[in-house]
């Protein structure tokens, strides 16, 4: 049957198992949106307030489920508004398809109205991208895009479709099944055996895992390995939620704002087993000092990550789930009482430090402390999906929130995108069918609060918790520590009333400046079916601790501010 390019796009999306797309219409995608209208009973299009929000929503959708997220935008500004969203997905290895319209082929290259070279612009922030100039290649290009997005280490793919290709017609034959990913490389036996030997010989092994455990669905395998070799586990920001936070061997996030016990244990280890992680500078600090005391086994699906940031003593390219489970079979079961004792000592120290920090500090007793906010909200949140924006609130949440299941923590790790949270939380809620909780700051929320409109029109069960300290807290913290307290442009002298703002958008809201008020607000927020904004007053001199200074190391760890 002869059908239009626009219809081919919609039919191919449905064929690939896509039931929800996010986007924003415009001149060069009118045809595509016409088909979305005609197929609205088979595929749901979520209209956001801004294309960036749509990109983050598709990203949150993908992170919450592991499915490929799809975002659609028009040419020119529509396409460029996706750029931050695509880069965010790229840095965090999220499978995402961005479909953009473009001016008709004959107008390309002439600086036509709303024309940009989005393929050129997104080349370094996509796994691959396409411009489809021949309608006969449209369906297969989209299928290839899905294949690339979900194969190996996942990532975003952009498909740019000029308007005349959407209008043209050609034969279309739907496939009965979604594309299957390219075959995964398996780790060679001899290398895994060598890894097992290193683990068996180690006295103080430490497992450092990243987001690869979540995208590789290897949580169970990881825990089995850790238990068999009696190794404590720490993770990067992206690894959070892969392992239940209350697992006895889990020490929490390591690195710049990681848990004290986790970072110190890593430093005292004699072997670090890195699984699906990439040794980002936020995880390592000073690279020369970082691995001074231990040897490294690095297993990752992406060969380009091996030896990229840190040279490993043994680097293995392979599927993480398969590699870890085969490795577990090869290693000997072992208890390490001395190491265990040291770890529990570190945990005790950490607990003491946290307690002290909670009791002291500049904020008076009756004020809301950051950890109080996380604790109170988590008591109400049940099995909600947790999303964050970027900044201090993100780190407090990452340190404190008792995450239980993979894919329940949606945060922008690699790119650190302020303004990520609202879109991502909406996408995650739609994908999972669950309530979402967004922890954000007054700075970040200022960048994405327009998406409250989306949350209201879709009646998304979303609790937005603002850590409102009237400042850009993370930068302020750096200014306090490293710039002699020059608070250049980090004091937000805005008189935004977030409760009124929520109401103006058609949502509900409440303000909380004490634990009691927050309890009351939370009780109300989690009882309503739609979006609810809680504006929490936080002191601007609350710090995220511990902190390894940028480029510093565990030797420079800051655990208290005098």
């Amino acid at each position: 049957m002869l059908i239009s390019g626009a219809k081919i796009v919609v039919e191919t999306l449905i064929e690939q198992g896509c039931s929800t797309v996010f986007g924003y219409p415009g001149g060069q995608v009118i045809n595509l949106f016409d088909e979305l209208y005609l197929c609205r009973d088979r595929i749901d299009h979520v209209l956001t307030a801004h294309e960036q929000g749509a990109a983050h929503a598709a990203d949150g959708y993908a992170r919450a489920t592991g499915k490929v997220g799809v975002v659609i935008a028009t040419s020119g500004p529509g396409a460029t508004n996706l750029v931050t969203g695509i880069a965010t997905a790229y840095l965090d290895s999220v499978p995402l398809i961005a479909i953009t319209g473009n001016v008709p082929c004959g107008l390309i290259g002439r600086d036509s109205f709303q024309e940009v070279d989005i393929v050129g612009i997104t080349m370094p922030i996509t796994k691959h991208n396409f411009i489809v100039k021949d309608i006969n290649e449209l369906a297969d290009t989209l299928r290839t895009a899905f294949k690339i997005a979900k194969s190996g280490r996942p990532g975003p793919v952009l498909v740019d479709i000029p308007k005349d290709v959407q209008v043209a017609k050609c034969e279309f034959e739907p496939k009965t099944q979604p594309v299957i990913p390219y075959p995964i490389p398996f780790a060679p036996d001899d290398k895994l055996e060598k890894a097992a030997d290193m683990i068996n010989a180690a006295e103080r092994p430490y497992i450092y895992f990243g987001g690869g455990i979540i995208s590789g669905k290897a949580s169970e395998e990881l825990i089995t390995l850790a238990e068999k070799i009696d190794a404590p586990m720490g993770c990067s920001l992206m690894g959070l939620s892969a392992v239940p936070c209350d697992h006895p061997l889990f020490l929490g996030m390591q690195g710049m704002h990681g848990h004290y016990a986790s970072s110190v244990a890593e430093d005292e280890a004699d072997l670090v087993i890195a699984l699906g992680a990439r040794f980002s500078d936020r995880a390592t600090g000073n690279k020369n000092r970082f691995s001074k005391n231990f040897r490294i086994i690095h297993i990752d699906i992406d060969g380009a990550e091996l030896h990229k940031n840190i040279s490993a003593d043994l680097a293995i390219k392979g599927d993480i789930k398969d590699s870890v489970s085969r490795l577990t079979e090869l290693v000997g079961e072992k208890k390490r009482p001395q190491w265990e004792e040291r770890i529990s000592q570190l945990r005790q120290e950490e607990l003491q430090r946290t307690e002290n920090a909670l009791r002291s500090g500049k904020a008076a007793q009756h004020q809301l402390r950051p950890y109080d906010i996380v604790d109170i909200i988590s008591a109400y949140a049940d099995d909600a999906v947790i999303a964050t924006d970027v900044g201090q609130h993100q780190m407090w949440t990452a340190q404190r929130y008792p995450l239980k299941k993979p894919r329940t923590f949606i945060t922008s790790g690699g790119l650190g995108t302020m303004g990520f949270g609202m879109g991502a939380a909406i996408g995650a809620s739609i994908a999972s069918g669950k309530r979402a909780v967004l922890f954000t700051g007054d700075g970040s929320f200022g960048m994405d609060l327009n998406e409250l409109a989306t949350a209201v029109s879709r009646n998304i069960p979303l609790v937005v918790v603002i850590f409102n300290n009237n400042s850009l807290g993370m930068v302020r913290q750096w200014q306090t520590l490293f710039f002699d307290g020059h608070y250049s442009n980090t004091v937000l002298d805005r008189s935004t009333d977030f409760v009124k703002l929520a109401e103006a958008f058609g949502a509900k809201g409440a303000r909380a400046s004490s634990k009691e008020e927050l309890e009351k607000a939370a009780a109300e927020a989690f009882a309503v079916s739609g979006p609810f904004v809680i504006d929490c007053t936080v002191d601007c001199d609350e710090f995220v601790l511990p902190m390894l200074p940028p480029g510093g190391s565990i030797d420079d760890i800051i655990t208290e501010i005098k």
Partner: protein, 166 residues
């Protein structure tokens, strides 16, 4: 730092050169030269990249190249078992007092004069980079008007081939 030469087989599609060269820019790798041309199969092009670096950088470049969707095959060419060639076109001022010296240089280097006018002459030379460099150095005193070199192409000796179809 050593020089490495990498042969890359890529799908012959629009934008592929940008993707490959963009990877070098994006990752901060410096290229000495890059050439691209047809292969024995019409669907594929062959890119030859030369760069200076250590073993670590070489490995990272290979790994990053292999991740590109349009890249079919990547191989670091053996330093000793590879034929490397570059082509030079160089225009020199044609003056009576230097003409004979230029002719001698052309003959010794097995270069060819491919254009001759009252004011200028163009020499063509093929060879390894070091030979081309030496030739240019020799001609400098006679007044180089303009020159253009292709960058290297390289192919391994013997049976070893970069295949266009895996």
């Amino acid at each position: 730092m050593d020089q490495y030469v990498i042969g890359v087989i890529v799908s012959n599609v629009s934008g592929v050169l940008s993707r490959v060269s963009g990877m070098f820019t994006r990752r901060g790798f410096n290229i000495d030269c890059l050439t691209v041309g047809e292969t024995e199969s019409s669907g594929f092009s062959r890119i030859t990249v030369a760069f200076h670096g250590d073993d670590d950088i070489k490995e990272r470049i290979v790994q990053q190249l292999q991740k590109l969707h349009d890249v079919r095959e990547v191989e670091v060419l053996s330093r000793t078992e590879t034929v490397v060639r570059e082509l030079l076109l160089i225009k020199i001022r044609n003056k009576a007092d230097s003409r004979q010296d230029i002719m001698t240089a052309v003959e010794i280097f097995r270069s060819k004069i491919v254009d001759y006018s009252p004011t200028a002459l163009i020499c063509e030379l093929t060879g390894e980079t070091s030979k081309i460099d030496a030739f240019i150095e020799l001609l400098k005193p006679y007044g180089i008007m303009e020159m253009c070199r292709t960058g290297i192409v390289a192919i391994e000796r013997g049976d070893n081939c970069l295949k266009t179809v895996k």
